[in-house]
């Protein structure tokens, strides 16, 4: 609420104390910039309303919520659907999808049938460059029956079921076949979270690349999903969300940074407002987060294809925020160009997928990685795990 009287008072402040002028200009400019962005969003919404797109969007949202509810009913009442499908023979229908996505909102989905999962070293290839406009792709493996929450760096979110993403051919993956969850303006797609089981989780934890963390209670997160706005999860201008994680209050929450540091804290102890939890160096950023409840091991995968595993007891819980965390590997190794591309809590039955910079996408059994200690490939850009818990 800016009135003429207030403007006069601001001018009086500047006349009395000229040193206040830069501050006042800075505050007003920042506000103006925020309001301009907000105005653009509102104008876009207005256009969508006039074109009737909003109605379509709400209808699609209602349909996806009904779908989500159906999945939940099936999961709760008839047991573990996906698990049964996975454990059945090779002729079972496909139930797991491997998603490759980037900041431009492009998403490729590869359906994995049981054969893909059972045979080790199944691989797929990109026919063209995987890095588009500087965006390195990320991976996600999830049940095909899932509902997904696409989170943008503006804090906006969109939901869509996995099956809404057309399945791409396995022979030669190409971004041209990608489904596009279109960003608005200069937005960037930062992460995708499966949310079918959101009502069974107690918390959702939002983490930024610079180690800022915010936890949301179940009901609050539900209202965020309903409003399609989860917040930016950041306090610094250049920072952006890198991960969202559903978990229980007593689970251990772990953040792992590119330069090989990890931070562990009980999920319930994390802050409700965005706080810098993990003190990482200027050149470092968070590459992955995960929670630990029942899994006995930790698996860290590096860019040069090494698979390092440790017992879960290795994790040391931090008592305070802004700690520098635990070192996963030595400084010498970091200086020689090794960094972390993926990490997770695992057991022997889990599966993982790795993507290399030249477009090679491979599946691995965690048990094999324990035995070999390597992925057998180099220049890995991302590694994700699909675990027995994910199938439940």
């Amino acid at each position: 609420m800016i009135t003429h009287d207030k403007i006069d008072e601001w001018i009086n402040e500047v006349e009395e104390r000229p040193a206040s002028a830069p501050n006042i200009i800075r505050y007003i400019a920042r506000r103006l910039s925020d309001l301009t962005n907000r105005n653009e969003e509102l104008l876009n919404e207005n256009i969508a309303l006039r074109l009737g797109k909003k109605v379509e969007e709400y209808e699609s949202r209602i349909a996806s919520l009904e779908y989500q509810l159906e999945i939940l009913k099936r999961q709760v009442s008839s047991g573990v659907v996906a698990e049964e499908m996975l454990s059945s023979n090779a002729s079972a229908p496909p139930t797991v999808s491997l998603l490759v996505y980037n900041g431009l909102g492009q998403v490729l989905r590869v359906e994995l049938d049981s054969l893909d999962l059972i045979s080790t070293n199944s691989s797929f290839r990109f026919s063209k460059q995987i890095v588009v406009e500087g965006f390195v792709p990320r991976l996600l493996i999830t049940s095909t029956l899932e509902e997904l929450l696409f989170v943008f760096d503006s804090g906006r979110a969109v939901t869509a079921p996995v099956v809404a993403i057309p399945s791409a051919g396995k022979d030669a993956l190409d971004w041209e076949q990608a489904f596009i969850q279109e960003p608005r303006g200069s937005e960037e797609l930062t992460t995708i979270l499966p949310i079918a089981k959101m009502t069974l989780a107690e918390l959702c934890i939002q983490t930024s690349r610079r180690g800022f963390v915010k936890k949301m209670g179940e009901s609050f997160f539900e209202s965020c999903v309903t409003n399609l706005y989860v917040g930016t999860g950041t306090k610094q201008k250049q920072d952006k969300t890198c991960s969202m994680q559903l978990c229980e209050k007593n689970d251990l929450f772990v953040m792992v940074s590119k330069e090989g540091r990890s931070f562990t804290m009980e999920a319930n102890q994390l802050p409700l407002t965005i706080e810098p939890a993990f003190q990482i160096g200027a050149t470092d950023h968070i590459v992955t987060t995960f929670t630990v409840s029942k899994k006995p091991y930790l698996l860290f995968v590096t860019n040069n294809g090494k698979a390092v595993y440790r017992d879960i007891q290795w994790l040391e819980q931090a008592n305070t925020f802004r700690t520098q965390g635990q070192l996963v590997f030595s400084k010498a190794r970091r200086d020689s160009g090794t960094w972390i591309v993926g990490a997770a809590a695992v057991d022997e039955k889990d599966w993982g997928a790795a993507l290399t910079s030249d477009g090679d996408l491979r599946l691995y059994r965690v048990n094999d990685l324990f035995e070999n200690g390597t992925l057998g490939i180099s220049e890995v850009v991302d590694f994700v795990i699909y675990g027995s818990e994910s199938r439940n």
């Binding site: 207030k6 601001w10 501050n23 009901s219 609050f220 319930n268 409700l272 407002t273």
Partner: protein, 442 residues
Amino acid sequence: MGLKVGIDFGTSNSGVAVFDGHEVHLLPVDRKSALPEVVKSILYITRDFKHYIGQEAVELYYRHNVGRLRRFEKKWVGELEFRGADMFYVRDVYTYVDVLKPGRLLQLIKSALRAGNYPGTQIFDRYYTLTDLISVYLRSLKERAETLLQEPISEVTLGRPVKFSEDAQRDRQAEDVLRQVANQAGFQRVSFELEPVAAALFYELTLEQPQNVLIFDFGGGTLDITIMRLGDQRHRKVYANNGIGIAGSDFDRAIIEKRLMPHFGKGRADLDPDLLELVNAVSDWVALPDLSTPPAKYNLERAIREGLAPARLKTLETLIFNDLAFSFYNGVESAKIALSDQGATVIGLQTNQLDIWELYTRYQFERDIHEHREKIREVLLQTVSDSGLEAEQIDAVVKTGGSSSIPAFTEMLGEIFGAEKVKSSDTFSSVTAGLAIRARSS
């Protein structure tokens, strides 16, 4: 025989210290606080009647309350008898109780001592009198101090403002209550010292020769002024003592009333008495959380549907029903503190349903507190006059307490006594330190 400590139980902050005869040791009683020697005078009582103080209370409050679910149940609380000329009937009275409320946060407890009209409050199934509340807080402080000192504490010197109240009887009552509370908290011997005198004793440690000193102790709840002869322990003399119930919390209230109320519908919803009551409650942070009842929600949503300042009333609804009151008042206080160092700041609170942005300058702040400032000037000059000294005969003016950093008051002291005489003592701990010195000599 246990240890003797000094405790400053302040309106906004408290502290504990012990004096070994050479040096004052301020105890880090709040490890979670940015200044561990300063503990916020905040008490959080959970549904299972566990008590938390200071930063721990604040963190727990946020953890338990922000974005939580609510469920209201209508509960019978009593009955009202109506008697007319030819009729008599009894009516049941109900209230709405949030049965999922995890705890209750209490702040500014010391102000209730001054007001004298706050008997206590119902917290879940228990009734806490004012003495219970303060006693719980002091006991927690005592336990923390004993853990740090590894020795039991038996004696305490508590600070008290120069005037709890202008009314001498109420003033005496407040001190009696505080004494009773301290006994209840486990202190066997309790003595009192005026807070500005305590600050003076701490300042005296730095003096090499006797001086006439004016102590300007300006905290969260009161302004206390003392003029003393210091520097020679055998010839200490109090020339004058005075106080006024204006301080930091009054400035926060002035900022809210003069600058922020329009964001919540003030000026737009004034014709609806139900809404006006809700809007006016914004400046009273103690009352606000209790307004989150189904009738209040109904009234707000009705007005929003009818198009009566919908964005502003939505802001009010979000503030009340999302437990944002504490964040809001903290934001106002932080802005006030920021204006001590800079000419402009922003009072802001943003969520996806609420967007408060108020550019606030020192010029505006000084206008908003102008009345308070004039009253303070009057009391200051009156104290100097009571002391029998001329302003020129005051050798040093020592500022202490959070509100003493406000530039308008530094300037006022400089104008009256000369800028070179105005000195700052440890803003939050000089009273605590002085009380420890007094405790040892008592």
